[in-house]
């Protein structure tokens, strides 16, 4: 009897230890991840600046940083995993949508439609993304280390006011510029007749994507504004709930 009681308490202690070590492991991983991503986007920023200073033009800039961009932006998919297993307290869907829209821009627009890679709008959204991501990942890093400098917090919750609309403009202009090339090449499209009895027109898909920015952008923007008021000014805003 006594030994089984002992076993019981030992098991309990082990479970508590497991919980504590799991969250210590999670914290360690997240810290490493956020430092790595901050570093990655810093590298991108410096590569972009160096290219422009050396060459004096933005033509060819995308090609020079394409591989690094693809690596770090794609790696951000693990953030969806973080939300799914619960080590980050954000909605899986919100994170999923944000990461997917980035993946879409990188892989399905800029990477695959070479003719638009030298557009100015590409540089616009690349600059916006770089500044945003460096701010965001360093914010998370400092937060995890419990030493958050106020200027990082300020940057995270203020820069977006200008950067977010600029980024949207850059992305939309890029997709718009890509449209004629998509139509001409018929890429990613499937026509009837075929044995799957389905058709897909990438051209019209892109138009729908562009239109979807209209309802989505204001929602995300106002969500960020509400977050800003709560974090910076301690205001509690009761949201209309269902």
């Amino acid at each position: 009897m006594a030994s089984s009681e002992e076993d019981g308490t030992v098991e309990e202690k082990e479970n508590n230890n497991k919980k504590r070590t799991k969250s210590a492991l999670a914290t360690a991983w997240l810290t490493f991840y956020n430092i790595a991503m901050t570093a990655g986007w810093l590298v991108l920023a410096m590569a972009m600046m160096r290219f422009y200073i050396q060459k004096g033009t933005h033509k060819g800039l995308y090609r020079s940083i394409a591989r690094t961009l693809k690596f770090f932006q794609t790696f951000a998919l693990v953030e969806v995993g973080h939300c799914a297993i619960g080590i980050v307290r954000t909605s899986v869907i919100v994170t999923g949508v944000q990461v997917c829209s980035r993946i879409f821009m990188v892989w399905f627009i800029t990477n695959s439609i070479r003719q638009i890679q030298n557009e100015e709008s590409v540089i616009l959204f690349l600059v916006v993304w770089t500044v945003t991501e460096i701010t965001r990942y360093s914010y998370y890093t400092f937060n995890l280390l419990h030493h958050l400098p106020y200027f990082i917090k300020w940057a995270r919750y203020n820069l977006f006011i200008v950067l977010y609309p600029l980024g949207v403009i850059g992305e939309l202009m890029t997709i718009y510029a890509a449209l004629p090339f998509v139509r001409r090449s018929g890429m990613y499209s499937m026509r009837l007749p075929n044995k799957y009895n389905v058709s897909f027109d990438y051209y019209y898909c892109l138009i729908i994507v562009m239109l979807s920015y209209i309802p989505l952008f204001p929602q995300l923007y106002f969500h960020m504004l509400r977050q800003r008021r709560r974090v910076l000014h301690g205001e509690v805003i009761v949201e209309k709930d269902d």
């Binding site: 009837l192 007749p193 009895n197 389905v198």
Partner: protein, 296 residues
Amino acid sequence: MWHVEILDAKTKDKLCFLDKVEPNATIGEIKSMFHKSRECHLSGKSLKDEDVLQHLPVGTTATFYFRDLGAQISWVTVFLTEYTGPLVIYLMFYFRVPFIYAPKYDFTTSKHWVVHLACMCHSFHYVKRLLETLFVHRFSHGTMPLRNIFKNCTYYWGFAAWMAYYINHPLYTPPIYGEQQIRLALIIFLFCQIGNFSIHIALRNLRPPGSKTRKIPYPTKNPFTWIFLLVSCPNYTYELGSWLGFTVMTQCLPVAFFTLVGFIQMTVWAKGKHRSYLKEFRDYPPLRSPILPFIL
């Protein structure tokens, strides 16, 4: 006489204080004093209209929390609307109503007999659903939130249009394995339609008319219900089977997508139902899975 205090579930504001309530008053009677559809719960536990005041775990002063569920619509209305849409929409594509396909195809018919068969199956499926809504189903809840009708109709009507467009298209390609494939698919489809109907009848017979009692469903004399031995929600299992049959019959990717999305949703519902069966009945058969025997 009892006192009943009613608070808003979200803001905790005092909405109402009733000081002369009969001990044998039901929750439904207390609710009717508000003239609005509201959900009533007792610090976390949701209550039913039939619950009687003196049988609740409260003293002679009870505190209830009311939550306004918003505009409601009856389940029957929602079902009828969401099922009539696909029926009508599919037929519009089948008869090649103008402005869908190129003008030279207006009001023509497909030269493939599987297209006619598919139309009959699809229409039969939704007519069956409409009749079941009117004459078979016994609903636990009278109403659901109004916004659901927009969500549900978009889903059903949207997918129906997407599928029907390709199946009835002048450039439709019939199944690669021809008659064999179509015949097998038709058998699966009909088998599962009968199965699905049998389950609906069996579930209806569990519940006497007008009541809201809950019992464990068991296999009956009808062989189609023997699947209850292995599955908690065989109606969903048969529904999946019907749509798999339809997918094979039409060999159409949009139909496969529709089947997949439906399967995911039904699995979520089946798991929920399975869990609530396990919670409510101590003696629930352990061999049963929510939707797929032994797998899911």
